[in-house]
Symmetry: none
Subunit: 202 residues, 4 copies
């Protein structure tokens, strides 16, 4: 029984993997179910044994990617015993590493945004992305707040605003890195972060 469920989950994941790579390459609309099936090495009809349709599958891909990134982020950020600045540096490194790792899946992210912008799935995606952004901001904000409390950062720093800017900033650097092969994401993000930290320090 457990074995059965495992098998099913495994196959579901195989389809998600295949779908992710095809969606990443051709975009949501450009992707044809048959391509996903071929990529997964299964029959066209089989996908529908695991997912109700294209939209659901796409959303599942989103959820999988989302979960994956959040796990990475949360684990790494827990790093305690550091200064707030130090933890922000860890946060930065984690995000940058994640981008580097998923670089060729980055187009997927853009597809998700597009789905949130205008599509029958708009609402689900907006909600999910809103939550995702909120989570990341929350992580950053709590670090900054710790910094303020400990006296490391100026008392008048707006932690929520800066968290939004930091999270957004890293995201935007990711986009530029994806767009330009020679964009030095590591360097730029470090420089950016240090400047912001300097601006927040007493």
């Amino acid at each position: 029984m457990i074995n059965f469920l495992d098998k099913r989950k495994e196959k579901k994941q195989r389809i998600i993997d295949a779908a992710a790579s095809v969606f990443a390459e051709k975009g949501y609309s450009g992707t044809v179910m048959a391509d996903i099936a071929k990529q997964a090495g299964i029959g066209k009809g089989t996908i529908y044994e695991y997912f109700p349709g294209k939209e659901e599958l796409f959303f599942s891909v989103f959820e999988w990617m989302n979960t994956k990134m959040k796990q990475t982020a949360r684990v790494s950020i827990a790093a305690l015993g550091e200064t707030a600045a130090g933890r922000l540096r860890v946060f930065s490194r984690v995000v940058v590493d994640a981008y580097n790792e998923l670089q060729d899946m980055y187009t997927l992210t853009l597809e998700f945004w597009s789905a949130a912008a205008a599509s029958p799935m708009r609402d689900r995606f907006q909600k999910a992305l809103r939550q995702m952004y909120a989570d990341y901001r929350e992580m950053a904000a709590s670090i900054i707040e710790d910094g303020i409390k400990s006296g490391e950062f100026r008392y008048d720093v707006d932690s929520r605003a800066m968290a939004a800017a930091l999270v957004g900033g890293f995201d935007a650097l990711g986009i530029q890195a994806w767009l330009e092969a020679r964009f030095d994401m590591n360097g730029v993000s470090r420089e950016f972060l240090e400047t912001v930290i300097r601006g927040m320090k007493k």
Copy 2:
């Protein structure tokens, strides 16, 4: 003759306007040529007298939007005689104003990114977006460099990196503002910019 060309240009623009609003609402794939025609108050076939097809029309919408934003930006940023920090503040305000103004067209931007990510038009869009980002970065970088030269900013500030971060940051705040109605873009962007400026100052 000139009159004739004007008429044609005018009609072309009308189609672009109509296309922009429909693309913004339904996304590229969700948009049907007939809807654009109806919105423009013309016949379906007429669009093809002015544009070779859907893709070209979409790209024309992109170019039109791009041009429009760049003009606004360039004009406003020319503001001389200010300190570098002051000019960055103007830059910021311009960008924020542009977002506020175009808010309901913001989905279009996401569609452009999606087109750059994966679509038959991928290359054109990537190139254009690359250029666009480069232009904005260049604007910001030149202001920062002026600040360094004038001694207003630290000599070790990496102007290109900070330009990328600033431009990207504003972009990312725009996305968050679009996603969450109550996101205080004005406040956050001011807070963000001031912190960065502080971090760059001597």
Copy 3:
């Protein structure tokens, strides 16, 4: 303008004709839209310019056949100045003639019944068939009632019951005639009617 509407109506009818013959031959489910298009000598997509889908088209075929039969019936039955028995004979002849004429379309009728029995269109068809039967019964009942009033038929004849039996009877003879080539519908229906008339006469 009128010309335009005429053209459209004409083409719509051409599609209905084509559909009727294909539905009659292959049944609703066995019919493929492409076959109808081919039969009508048009492109597959063109059907959808005139009908929203297969179901609607099928229902339109039903309505067309229904209208056609009812017109024939009503016109002929108006024959006044006859005895009730005479008018029932006219009624009978009209119905029998109609069956003979539409013999190769008879399968369509069975498809309509099947659609009423179990299909997503069930309700519409049930309603329409109910109305159709009610109309025919009404015609027959009014003749019988006239016969009762005029003293031609027994005062205790239940006109509504006999109308139902007569209409149903003819219908059922039609089915048997369709099923067996050598079924003598003319003879049987005459015999049937005369017996019933005899039974109703004083």
Copy 4:
């Protein structure tokens, strides 16, 4: 061995029962093999151990229903020692009772007709229905003939024609009863039969 065959027959019947109820509700095309399996409480594949496919199963349902009705009819009609009119009344009651009993299966009958009208199974169904109708007509005809011979009915009554009309008539009343909940089948069929008997009597 006999036990084994019994078990098999029993299960086959269970499948037929399940199939009958699903076909009745959703029609032939609307019925999905999986639904039948679920209704029968067995696995999808198991059906194919007992029937070669959907068509065969459907035909088996038809045969089962056919047999069932014919048995009822034959048994009841054998009632001897009565007048011809009396036996016709029994015949009528039996048919009417059967309709009342199978009311919610009536849609099945319409599906059978539709299958006979146009489907790959057309020939089989036509043949079987032809036989079925012939049998019922034969039953009625023999009663009428007895009535003629015994001098109860007019010598010029066409027994075959009247048998066709009677059998068809009851069928058609069944359809109307199915279509309209408040159709008084009992009353109408009695009225109908009495009038016909009166018309046949000397």
